[in-house]
């Protein structure tokens, strides 16, 4: 069974540029999560989807961050414009509906903003 797929794995951009990350969850997993992991810190939830509905986006900085999961399968997280402080690893995870405590994580996208 394929795990959570994320791309790209690494991205380097200049500040003020846009960037997008893609995530494909494990097949059959209705719930999808985006986390940000700053250097030396644990992951922090940005947004959680149940199918195509964002059910928890309270920690998503909505002035520059957006996310979508149009068909309830794969998802895209976008930052526009990027700031230096956005440098981090962006992790995607998925789980079966109602199984929030059994999240499967992808390898993450390491973003560097210069």
């Amino acid at each position: 069974e394929a795990g959570v797929v994320q791309s790209p794995r690494y991205k380097i951009i200049e500040k003020k540029q846009p960037v997008a990350f893609w995530c494909n969850p494990i097949s059959g997993h209705n719930t999808l999560y985006w986390y940000r992991q700053n250097l030396g810190q644990g992951p922090e939830l940005l947004i959680r989807y149940e199918n195509e509905e964002a059910v928890d986006d309270s920690q998503l900085p909505k002035d520059r961050f957006s996310a979508e999961r149009l068909k309830g399968v794969d998802s895209t997280l976008k930052i526009q414009p990027a700031e230096l402080g956005d440098s981090a690893v962006y992790l995607c995870a998925s789980s079966l509906e109602g199984r929030t405590y059994e999240q499967y994580f992808g390898p993450g996208t390491r973003l560097t903003v210069t």
Partner: protein, 113 residues
């Protein structure tokens, strides 16, 4: 608000030695507790979880953790560490309704030959 503290940023142990990683949590009710491991360049993998019942929980890769309500702790242990256990370990706490998972800052484990 719930929070997790991992007091040790970095721990070094010799291969074959025992290991204990500390985790303290703050939560108003009975928490759901987790330990994850993250190898370099990899995502997080769930080692074990505690919801209720027996306070000593067994996980994968020979790890176990003990929930101590009186100490607000959920320490991770392994009797004999292998070189492949070198990684970053994260403790996490979650609410029973499935929301608001909070991770600690992590403990980096180095294993000496």
């Amino acid at each position: 608000a719930q929070s997790v503290t991992q007091p040790d940023i970095h721990i070094t142990v010799s291969e074959g030695a025992s290991l204990e990683l500390r985790c303290n949590y703050s939560y108003g009710a009975t928490p759901y507790l987790f330990w994850y491991v993250q190898s370099p360049g990899q995502g997080l993998q769930l080692l074990l979880k505690y919801f209720s019942g027996d306070t000593l929980v067994q996980g994968i890769k020979g790890f176990e953790a003990e929930f101590k309500r009186s100490q607000s702790s959920f320490n991770l242990r392994k009797p004999s560490v292998h070189w492949s256990d070198a990684a970053e370990y994260f403790c996490a706490v979650g609410a029973p309704d499935g929301n608001d998972m909070r991770f600690g800052a992590g403990t980096r484990l180095t294993v000496k030959p």
